[in-house]
């Protein structure tokens, strides 16, 4: 287990005087731990597992899209046993279940916990020079609440009737009329998960406000912490409305209320036995009030990590550090008032739709500023290329593609056409898959030596990188074309029904066959992407025990406080009181011996930085 070996080496460092942790047994140390680093690793393991499961689901769906109606290899019989159907063929219901669960798992159980909770927990207290989170026991409670919620959501895949089927957006009345208890499981799980996120967000904000080391002023805080700070606010204020909506939809299902069910609803040809009078659009408002900020929750931790890694490897200060901070705050603020750009097709008045189009266009400005600053940081730097840097560099164009293709979706006029097509799928996956996931890989390669005291292999890291880069783009680039050609998302047969029916001369709308055939290319690329992760997985586990040992606690010669502790850091993080003198990115500053000045080292005229941990050149391999 990853966290086992991580912690055994730190065991003897553990500070006896910290709180009431005198002698910790196995359970206290690894399972019900209150140490933010252990909790971070726990989150990391669970969410990586879910990332894998979410990928398995989409791999099955990709089979159905590429070869509709043909028996699914390997898992075919299993899904028949679980959900019915025969001959290993995926039924439409199973397709819907997998689609909904892919979205839910990826968003709520993989990316958010990985970026915000895992990296945040591990890195933020270290970077601000805090001994732990402000409320360590609350931190543990968040993790276990998350775990329970995750088990409920994922466990619903194995109940009779199967899991939720109404997409990750779970629109009512569809969501309350699919005949499975899975939806209720999902909702209960979601409400618990949100409770966990809220506790986590409270903890992060309180920690950042209260526990910054002496001298760590707001404008000396690493950008990653800023990103996490804003992210925590998004979670804190945007999640409660979805919690409310979840409770109401749950009541629609278990108590037969009609919050989201309109008068005169007919289900399966029968008038539904409900009081009616509810508002389906209300669900969408509450859902998207969360779900738009949620996309920034998915991306901001990634942006933060990438900026740490890029500055470290270009050996230059972060370009426009303050600008970035203001941009990220503006982004956070605006992200609360753009949500209805997902709802242009609900029948919106022109005035309100203009409002949301305007705010959507405005919010793209800080996003572009962020990307520009990161690009400018590269300018003229003497770049050090290693695996984390490769992933971080690739993040930039991927995020750029994802962001720019979002603009047409922000205008109601073009969204009328693009809404719910594969164009949308391609757009947001460019952000969350090659974007966020690449940043997370960068983060894993970058902080792995911190957590374990060993490097991951750079060679296999590069193999992993290039394969992933190629296949990610082979998956998602063609989807833009499919979407522009009018192919709808959530289509069970991948559009075969409509293939070749397009006869523009006669005014018949359909999809040209060549776009449907792209499904096979995409699917093969997707499976290859899965295979390309094998080097990573082996590298990861092998390096925990056999990787090359780091030469110093600060192998990347970084300035931030997370690298100024013993590696791996003990319980309590720092050996003694720590004080901050410098900004977070004092790279290549004039007047220093070395090309960097850690935040806790007093700058001295004579260039005497002896107290800085000595560092060898970073190995190329």
């Amino acid at each position: 287990m990853a966290h086992d070996s991580t912690q055994t080496s730190t065991a003897d460092h553990a500070h006896g005087e910290h709180d009431h942790h005198h002698e910790q047994n196995f359970w206290q140390k690894y399972i019900f731990s209150t140490d933010h680093k252990v909790i971070g690793i726990q989150y990391g393991i669970v969410s990586l597992l879910f990332l894998f499961l979410g990928f398995i689901l989409i791999s099955c769906m990709r089979w159905q899209l590429a070869y509709p109606g043909q028996p699914l290899p390997i898992l075919g019989n299993l899904i028949n046993d679980l959900y019915g159907g025969a001959d290993g063929i995926m039924t439409p219901e199973i397709y819907n279940m997998f689609g909904a669960m892919h979205g839910n798992i990826m968003v709520f159980l993989a990316i958010v916990p990985l970026g915000f909770a895992a990296f945040g927990n591990y890195v933020v207290p270290l970077q601000i020079g805090a001994p732990d989170m402000a409320f360590p026991r609350l931190n543990m409670a968040s993790f276990w609440l998350f775990f329970v919620g995750a088990i409920l959501i994922f466990g619903s895949m194995f109940i009779p009737g199967g899991p939720a089927q109404a997409g990750w957006t779970s629109y009512s009345p569809l969501a309350s009329s699919v005949p499975t208890n899975g939806q209720a499981y999902w909702l209960v799980g979601l409400v618990i998960l949100i409770a966990s996120s809220l506790l986590g967000a409270v903890n992060f904000i309180a920690t950042i406000i209260q526990l910054r080391a002496p001298g760590m002023t707001w404008m000396k805080m690493p950008f990653f912490c800023w990103a996490q700070f804003v992210t925590a606010f998004l979670l804190l204020l945007a999640f409660p409305p979805l919690q409310v909506a979840g409770i109401m939809q749950l009541f629609d299902i278990v108590f037969d209320t009609s919050f989201f069910l309109p008068t005169g609803l007919i289900i399966g040809g029968q008038p539904a036995e409900i009081s009616g009078g509810g508002s389906p659009v209300l669900w969408q408002h509450l859902f998207w009030f969360l779900a738009h900020p949620e996309v920034y929750v998915l991306i901001l931790p990634a942006v933060g990590m990438v900026s740490e890694i890029i500055t470290n490897n270009t050996r230059r200060p972060l370009w426009g550090y303050k600008t970035l901070i203001y941009a990220v705050m503006t982004l956070g603020f605006l992200s609360f008032i753009v949500w209805a750009h997902h709802m242009y097709l609900t029948g919106m008045g022109t005035v309100i739709s203009t409002f949301f189009q305007t705010t959507t266009m405005i919010i793209s400005i800080p996003s572009v500023i962020i990307l520009t600053c990161l690009f400018l940081t590269l300018w003229g730097g003497s770049m050090r290329i290693n695996t984390p840097m490769l992933f971080a560099l690739a993040f930039l164009p991927m995020f750029g593609i994802g962001g720019l293709t979002g603009l047409p979706l922000g205008f109601s006029y073009s969204d009328l056409y693009l809404h719910d097509t594969y164009y949308v799928i391609a757009h947001f996956h460019y952000i969350v898959a090659p974007g966020t996931i690449f940043a997370f890989f960068a983060g894993i390669y970058y902080w792995f030596p911190k957590a374990t005291g060993r490097y991951m292999s750079d060679y296999w890291g590069r193999v992993h990188f290039w394969l992933s880069l190629v296949f990610m783009n082979l998956i998602f680039m063609p989807m833009f074309l499919q979407g522009l050609a009018g192919m709808h998302r959530r289509m069970y047969d991948g559009g075969v029904t409509y293939a070749g029916t397009a006869t523009p001369e006669e005014g018949v709308v359909g999809i040209l066959t060549k776009y449907v055939e792209m499904n096979q290319t995409i699917s093969i690329a997707a499976w290859c992407l899965g295979l390309s992760q094998i080097p990573f997985i082996i590298n990861f586990f092998y390096s925990i025990t056999n990787g090359k040992k780091v030469e110093s606690p600060n192998p990347w010669k970084a300035t931030t406080l997370d690298w100024q502790t013993p590696t791996p850091p003990p319980h309590g993080n720092f050996d003694g009181p720590i004080e901050v003198f410098n900004g977070p990115y004092e790279y290549s500053a004039p007047g220093t011996d070395d090309d960097f000045l850690p935040q806790n080292v007093k700058p001295s005229k004579g260039g005497d930085t002896t107290s800085a941990p000595s560092t060898e050149p970073v190995p190329a391999k």
């Binding site: 606010f233 609360f336 008032i337 008045g349 022109t350 309100i352």
Partner: protein, 129 residues
């Protein structure tokens, strides 16, 4: 704890009791005005909400000590309140601005146009066939 501090707290206690009494009166008032017909339901709602807001502010300012809090907490509560108003306001606005009104408007204009240029409209039609 200094005597000064004790004195402070004692004067606080007086405030608490006064505010408590004000809240009781406010509650009676809320019920009372709900039986008064102000002419339109909307005014009744507005008056009721106004009294509730005043009462709630008293609780927040004095019982929760918001009247003398630190900037960090003002910022926090301010932002939450702002986003709450945003959520409520924009949702209601979205509901109050349904598309059909503009559609009807366009229809009306179109009708006007057709009437004005019946000739060219006819021409279009013949092209269609």
């Amino acid at each position: 704890m200094s005597a000064d501090h004790d004195h402070d707290i004692k004067s606080h206690i007086r405030t608490y009791l006064i505010i408590g009494a004000a809240l009781f009166v406010g509650t009676v008032l809320t019920v009372a005005v709900s039986y008064v017909d102000f002419g339109s339901h909307a005014i009744n709602v507005a008056v009721g909400l106004l009294i509730a807001t005043v009462k709630a502010s008293l609780v927040a300012l004095f019982f929760m000590h918001l009247i003398s809090e630190k900037t960090a907490i003002y910022l926090l509560i301010g932002s939450a309140f702002f986003f709450f108003v945003g959520l409520m306001g924009l949702t209601i606005w979205a509901d109050k601005n349904p598309p059909n009104r503009t559609q009807n408007l366009q229809l009306e204009q179109k009708v006007a146009v057709t009437e004005g240029h019946s000739h060219s409209e006819d021409g279009d039609h013949s092209n269609d066939h």
